[in-house]
Symmetry: C2
Subunit: 485 residues, 2 copies
């Protein structure tokens, strides 16, 4: 029994070998499977897909509230359209999958992103300022022939995302949208999923191919490296000019559209949910996201099985009526201990254990995944589960926020910055420039420290002072330097 | 004004020129757009995408109730796997899109369907009968390089579907699943979407490539031709043998899995929703599916605008609180008549017109899309909308059922069958055989009548009698012959 247990459970600690922990937890908690053996393409199993479905709901709900409407665009893009915006083509064409067959004379690529599909349609759908803003989104799979090492969900060749493409009548409106996008990331990824982030206005050399500027969301992995989560881009008039997408403004004059794009990669955000909250026993899923919020494990002998199962079913249907996603694990082949172990590995927030003793006392044993506390709870008190769920998520959020805060430190010299990075943190640094002038210093950061200038804090006017520790010129910006995935 | 109206509205009658009606209604009601100009790939606009989202919800809800779990499989399949099952490869490889770049030595195709992805995973995930049944599904886009003429949503090269792939321990269990799949089509597509169908067990020569048998759902288009909607397939052990997917049965012996597949093509079912219910003024959407269930059109002058808009907003928020998908169309640029016209074209079930007169009487003018009746309704009675919605959908269903019933006629000679087909109906015919023996007669049906033997009625033991009208041999089957898309 014990041997079997250790085979099924994790045999590595999260903080000792994060990389191996991630591999084991995603496989053993049945999030994904890579055994199909196509580099960069991952199978997402029901437990992972269930979490993703819930993530989609929260994001889509928020986007719809903000006036976004759904669409379904083709998965392919013609070469003609894909190559219309010159910076975009430089950035993306080396990364696309081309189809072998020519479709009626057209060369087609699998979409890496869909600016070059939405912009020509904006041109057809929008005539005047009265049609604006136009805010569209789609759930989509996108494809990038990334040549670097792939890691399941972290870096792959196909990923699942939502992409929003919005058109406006002025730069001001478009910039407000960039802000709204950052707020959506804050409301959904941070407040609901419990994953804190640094909203980073990327340096000039690190923006989206074709954008005026990009704000990325940087999240910490347990090893202190950063992973980029949703980014939002002010495209300005670059794509609308490339596609001739004009509108008639309030003065009756033709003007090019102002566009933005926002792309929460749901399959990658799942990585941050897993790695932010999990522990040495496995996943810990936010109550809001877990496919099963409460699992019921009946404890029975052959003699009292019927009675215990009956009571468990009663409780299960009661919880379901309250809208709690509930699973009754009444499998007779497994011992209760094995079940506890499995559901802890899978990260289910609450577990109800119920046997004859509990039935007599009209109570259950109630286990909470994050604190690992077991308490006795009156059956009549089970209606409190949704509010306990809220507290559960609040605890995860607070824990993540505390860890996040402790991971940012000021660094004033190369030596200090190196030390900060080596201890798995991000350095806040007075830096020469995030325009072209800063490129050389950014290269020093990369070569000598293995780090990256991730950008300046969006929505904040952090005042720089002193000199850039790399070139000695006056510091114009406060940047954040970290190592990344 | 009138001129503008006729430009925007339909200028063709559904029963006079269905093909043109379909083109106009899908374009003018903003369901889709084909102007991206990639043959076989269609853009689905927000109005169409909103309907599709609702269709997904009903199907997924039903599938989950039946124990199906979500997954996300790669959009690509390796050549090695795609070509493992010999009949499958014959049926599908001429139809697939291959990728140009070789992915680490593997040739990859865009999935036309995913049996060859799920079966090798069943092999890894299923050890014994205790793991069965395993019922999985995914929302997916699939790709088929169909060389025939394409028509938006009807026949294309990319479509949006749900595919279910299930594994069982016995043929009996697998056949029960085929029945359950037919029931899902009945419950969702027929009862909820109001689209009746003939569940047709396909002849031997028309089954899914690799299946033991196929049950397709045939729906009528307004021109009397049939369109295939969800089909379900008993794969038997064909795929499990090709992939060596075994399990240990209750006697401890190895056995190949029994598998089934079910594929509701949501983007194609949308065609049947549009064509079954629409009329000469445009779409008529079921209350259950319409992105907007009630539209409010305020009628105001410059003088009373504020008052009327205020009351309209009150009503709007009241309806939203009742869970009714409501849109307030308070655009000042358009006249009420234009708005009525547009929302009728888009098929919104209910419209509330409200002006100063109505406000004084504490009522609204209430328009119902299918009957085109206008009545006065007390504002306090608006809470009845959800139940009026149910009645609305019931009327659509009854109307569709009546039309459906009248479209099936018995035909006993080639001449009679031809006449039935020529009048836009389906002929019920005593036919020699749906096995190989029947192939020649089926070819006669195709060549001389432009029709197809669609199959025998699933779930029914219709007794054949007499002789096959084509070869004169004793009739073993009652088949349905129709023309099709």
């Amino acid at each position: 029994m014990e041997q079997k247990k250790s085979q099924e459970g994790l045999n590595v600690k999260k903080n000792e070998n994060f990389s191996e922990w991630y591999t084991q937890v995603t496989e053993k908690a049945e999030i994904l499977d890579i055994r199909l053996g196509i580099k960069g393409f991952t199978i997402i199993r029901p437990w992972g897909a269930g979490i993703i479905e819930n993530m989609f709901k929260f994001f889509e709900n928020e986007l719809q509230k903000n006036g976004h409407k759904p669409t379904f665009m083709p998965s392919v893009i013609s070469k003609e359209n894909l190559t219309k915006e010159s910076e975009h083509v430089k950035g993306f064409t080396p990364q696309v999958f081309w189809l072998k067959d020519i479709n009626e004379g057209q060369e087609l690529a699998l979409r890496p992103t869909s600016e070059t599909v939405y912009t020509p349609m904006f041109k057809l759908w929008i005539r005047s300022w009265r049609d604006l803003p136009m805010k569209l989104y789609q759930r989509a799979h996108v494809f990038r022939l990334d040549t670097k090492a792939t890691r399941p969900l972290i870096r792959g060749r196909e990923f699942i995302w939502i992409e929003c493409h919005d058109a406006f009548k002025s730069k001001e409106d478009a910039e407000k949208q960039v802000q709204e996008d950052i707020n959506v990331t804050e409301k959904v990824m941070h407040q609901i999923f419990g994953v804190p982030f640094l909203p980073m206005k990327r340096p000039e050399w690190d923006k989206f191919a074709g954008a005026e500027y990009t704000v990325g969301s940087d999240c910490f992995m347990p090893d202190g490296k950063l992973i980029q989560q949703p980014s939002t881009h002010l495209m300005g008039q670059k794509f609308s000019k490339a596609f001739g997408a004009e509108f008639e403004n309030e003065n009756g004059k033709k003007e090019f559209l102002w566009t933005t794009a926002y792309g929460p990669a749901i399959s990658r955000i799942l990585v941050s949910v897993i790695t932010t909250h999990g522990d040495d026993s496995g996943l810990i899923l936010p109550y809001s996201l877990s496919p099963v919020q409460t699992v019921i494990v009946p404890i029975f002998t052959t003699k009292n099985k019927e009675k215990v199962i009956k009571k468990s079913e009663e409780i299960s249907s009661k919880l379901k009526k309250l809208g709690i996603r509930t699973e009754l694990d009444s499998d007779s082949e497994k011992r209760p201990g094995e079940k506890y172990h499995l559901w802890e590995l899978k990260g289910v927030p609450f577990r109800i254990e119920i046997g004859e003793k509990e039935i007599e006392k009209k109570e259950v044993t109630f286990f909470t995944r994050d604190t690992k506390e077991k308490t006795n709870m009156k059956i009549t008190d089970l209606k409190k589960i949704p509010s306990l769920g809220k507290e559960f998520d609040k605890r995860l959020l607070e824990k993540a926020d505390n860890s996040f805060k402790n991971r940012i430190e000021e660094g004033n010299s190369e030596k200090e910055i190196k030390k900060i990075l080596d201890t798995g943190k991000v350095a806040k640094v007075n830096f020469c420039s995030t325009d072209k002038e800063g490129v050389e210093c950014a290269q020093i950061v990369e070569k000598r420290l293995g780090g990256e200038v991730r950008g300046t804090l969006a929505n904040s006017n952090e005042k720089s002072n002193g000199k850039c520790p790399f070139c000695g010129k006056p510091a114009k910006k406060v940047v954040y330097i970290g190592r990344s995935y």
